[in-house]
Chain length 596, copies 2
């Protein structure tokens, strides 16, 4: 569909940039080919176009309501999700033996990208179910898989992730919910949770909550947290639904955007019995949850990217059709489409550079996951895993900021109309504002990158990224084109400064961790811009090397123009960031509470 | 009130930074003193606190509705506006002989800032009325003043500005509404207008629309537009209301924010007679409107600033109270207020630097207007007028971007809570997103700055600003403090680069105006950062020179810390902007429609 994600671009990213066809050489994906990938993608477009996109605004205007007994969601949401599940998208990555399509993660992400562009709020129910299912698949017992996973993959049960408590927020060390062992090996769950997306509704037969809680006597902090499956309705041995667990909806949360997704406060076991089953080993809950969380972080980055992407296509369409002003001073000449005004083109070009770069980055992360799990070569698996780990905070955060900025520019292109609820772009902007917050705020991602990932394996992760970037620089340098040469030099320089800045910060971390980490957000932003510049150089090199059909020439010129924009307008912004970081600026550390 | 605008800061800006007491030496303000100024401000705080702030969220949740006959606005809005008018704020700047308070514009703006921080949507009705009244005051006939101005100043009639047409948008040259002369010297108005704020409601006895339209035979383009007073109800000679004019509400516009202000589509004279009176001379309408528009642009900048400001104070309050996480690794230690985390302090410091800088900039513009109109010395008047003209696009745009960014940071400080409608910050963010759009988009402001203002009077305006900045640099250099010395050097350097960049762009304007203006938005942003750096250096110098009472020490330290933040984190961002601008980068000009 024209205004979701440009199909030509998605194909370019998948088949030219990321060469996903190569994945079909792995034993895991040997039944696949470009044809099967493309057919899954076509199905995603078709359902997204017919069932998701047309309902997106209605979801926003008619938020879920709670009458004290039941949560009401407009029926079109269930129709959309049923279509999603029936087409096999919840189990897309699972083995054929499990009824799945055995698709690579990268292709699955591409499909999810399309749904999310059409309606991020409807898709959220599916995304949460996929994530929760994955946790049970990885760490649950065979019995749990039979009881919960199978109906989740079929779309009959939905899932949630239940981490946050009102008093603890991002600080999971402070989770207080409890799980008392019961005689039969199950647990009595008690506690209050907040911001639980998809926490209540009647879209599915059952809701499978994956809940973090403490078993009495557990160590304090993050090392004493366990993970439990807590179904809304208990499931009997024969798979039929038993009595309701005491998971009480304390209220719906009303958000700025993402309004089609219920966001809930849930009280577990406050009045009656709320029975949960331990997943895996006691006290390992957070490690398990982080497995899901890493996926969730990529999902957030992808959602942010495609909200920006669809906003860009809406703005582009508007700019081509809207007649206003003129390029000459002759008041009698006819008005021109606003895309003819340089400042409008600037706003479109910035959006293009942000969202196409962000989407490519997220799908690249998808291929890293595929390689990490399924590449036949062990070294390749290990390197891909390290690279994915390093890049996850960037993949989560960079699109959350820049694709949101793209949504703001899309509004600006629409002028006053863009500020009204008659046009889609204002909703994208509100929806996208959640992304820098959930699944670990940008600040937390920055600490993860600078405090952990950048120095993981004594710097090996960073070195792997450096090797990849170096290869692209070398390839670009082989071209006589001065623009490409200049981009390559700029990227090589940016990378050198990044590694030097990292070294300086690494030294500082030993001396004064508080000071070294104080400006981690700047580090993450600069890191992200450097990585996306690399993604753009890769695209530019391919565009230069292509021998396009006449119909494709404009497409490649567009890629070159966006790469040029990124190198001229965006990458130089990292200059002052390096300077600031190397100075170990202590402004935020020195600032005293009473001075505000 | 604690969360609107910090009173200590407002006093600092007015009395220490801008030395508004000096205005009392002008004949126009000779009855005034710090005491009378402060008393007006205290009244504004009191009404804003009691009548505006408590209603702000309700306005947002219960948008105006239209039942096909009448527009319904929650009654608290009328109460708030009645209190505003009764306290004399509509006529605050008018001569005592006219029933006004004869206050300087700067003090009036300070009062308006307080109301706008409390509820920008309610205040909009008042702001529009003040602007419309000013137009009639400046250009209307004595009869028009008696008929319309007097009841407007008393708050009995409200005003609007009616420029935009659906097909024309920002392109006022394409206004098509017509005004046919009638035998009695009045005109029949016909046309469709859109985005008319306050265009219909029952908050006042009458609504006075100031409408742009063309008299038959007028020249094409902007030189053929005239200005008309078109009252909702015609006003009889004795001042009583006559029949309704045919100003039909074609619909309410539903916006992302600013929801408490009706935004309307109006059809003039579509069915019955719609009678208007010409204001001033035919075909001079746009020039008159721009008089009002300049004020409106400062009003927008001020509104943006204080939305950011109140958001900052909300975030600060939250950060001081919210306990979460800890600075040590001991999981058993109690959680700390999040203001103890460096990244939260970064977000608060950025907000402080943006919003206190923005507010000071807007109020400075207010003093320029006072000096331009009322300074006894002619040279001072002229220089102040030129400086105000030069800075108006900056005053409109810089706060619209950076105080909006502050609102985004305020949400981020609140985490998940900030994204919900339970907290005020999400509304501020939505409300503020209008400001880069209305009263001339940021793109239009950029063209105004680079295409007109920067070279006005052959560069004299810019030279006047340079003189002012130079004086601050000199004063800062007298201090032995290394921080201040460094700020001064940085600002002197930034100014030199700005003037050089301006020279280069000026040369390019002669060669290829399209190319030279293509990156005007970057020029405006860089210009704004340089001007706000100057505002911060002025504040830092004063903080350094102050001999504060113990109670005041923290306040001045906060000013120094925010200045330091601005010079270390923000001003360096102009470096790559200068480089880009000087390169006359043609990326946006070269980009072809078909490449997107």
């Amino acid at each position: 569909m024209d205004k979701l994600i440009k199909r030509r671009d998605l194909d370019f990213i998948l088949y030219e940039l990321l060469q996903v066809e190569e994945l079909a050489r792995y034993p895991r994906f040997q039944e696949h080919s470009r044809q099967t990938f493309s057919s899954a993608i076509a199905t995603a477009y078709s359902i997204a176009e017919q069932k998701f996109a047309p309902v997106n605004r209605k979801c926003d205007l008619q938020e879920p309501t709670y009458d004290g007994e039941r949560v009401h969601v407009i029926p079109e949401v269930k129709e959309a999700l049923d279509a999603f599940a029936s087409a096999g998208f919840i189990s897309a990555m699972y083995a054929e033996a499990q009824g799945g399509m055995q698709l690579p993660y990268s292709i699955t992400l591409a499909c999810y990208a399309i749904f999310r562009a059409a309606s991020v709020a409807i898709d959220a129910y599916a995304t949460l179910t996929v994530g929760a299912a994955e946790l049970i698949h990885e760490f649950g017992s065979e019995e749990q898989k039979a009881r919960y996973l199978a109906p989740m993959l079929a779309g009959r049960y939905f899932g949630t992730m239940v981490l946050t408590e009102p008093q603890a927020g991002s600080s999971l060390a402070d989770v207080q919910s409890t799980a008392e062992p019961r005689a039969d090996g199950t647990y009595s769950i008690k506690g209050n949770k907040i911001f639980i997306s998809g926490g209540d509704h009647e879209l599915s037969e059952n809701i499978v909550h994956l809940v973090l809680a403490r078993i009495p006597g557990a160590p304090p902090g993050v090392k004493g947290i366990s993970l439990f499956v807590v179904p809304k309705y208990r499931v009997k041995a024969d798979g039929s639904l038993g009595p309701k667990n005491d998971v009480a909806l304390a209220g719906l949360i009303h958000k700025m955007g993402f309004r089609g997704t219920t966001s809930t406060m849930l009280n577990f076991g406050e009045n009656e019995e709320c029975i949960g089953e331990l997943v895996g080993k006691p006290h390992h809950g957070l490690a398990y949850m982080f497995q899901m969380m890493n996926g969730a972080r990529i999902a957030v980055g992808l959602g942010a990217s495609v909200l920006g992407y669809t906003g860009y296509l809406h703005a582009l369409d508007y700019a081509r059709e809207r007649l206003q002003g003129r390029n000459s001073k002759d008041a009698l000449s006819p008005p021109v489409p606003i895309i003819r005004h340089a400042d409008v083109r600037r706003m479109l070009l910035a959006q293009k550079a942000y969202v196409e770069g962000a989407l490519a980055l997220c799908l690249y992360a998808g291929t890293l996951s595929d390689r990490a799990k399924h590449a036949p070569d062990e070294t390749e698996r290990r390197e891909a895993a390290l690279l994915l780990d390093l890049l996850t905070p960037v993949v989560k955060t960079w699109p959350s900021h820049y694709a949101l900025e793209a949504n703001s520019l899309a509004i600006q292109v629409h002028g006053g109309y863009g500020y009204t609820r008659e046009y889609a772009v204002e909703q994208f902007y509100r929806d996208n504002r959640l992304n820098p917050i959930h699944e670990g705020t940008s600040g937390i991602q920055a600490l993860d990158l600078l405090g952990r990932k950048a120095f993981a394996e004594k710097g090996v992760s960073l070195a792997i990224l450096g090797k990849e970037i170096g290869a692209t620089v070398q390839r670009a340098r082989k071209h006589s084109d001065t623009e490409l040469q200049s981009h390559a030099a700029q990227l090589a320089d940016a990378w050198e400064r990044l590694t030097e800045t990292t070294r300086i910060l690494g030294g500082a971390l030993m001396q004064d961790a508080n000071l070294a980490l104080a400006n981690a957000s700047v580090y993450l932003d600069m890191f992200g811009h450097t990585v996306v510049a690399w993604i753009w150089l890769r695209q530019a090199v391919l565009a230069k090397e292509a021998t396009p059909s006449p119909a494709d020439e404009d497409f490649y010129r567009g890629k070159l123009a966006a790469a040029r924009y990124f190198f001229r307008w965006e990458l130089p912004k990292t200059g002052p960031q390096h300077t600031l970081l190397r100075s170990l600026d202590s402004s935020t550390v020195d600032m005293q509470e009473s001075w505000f």
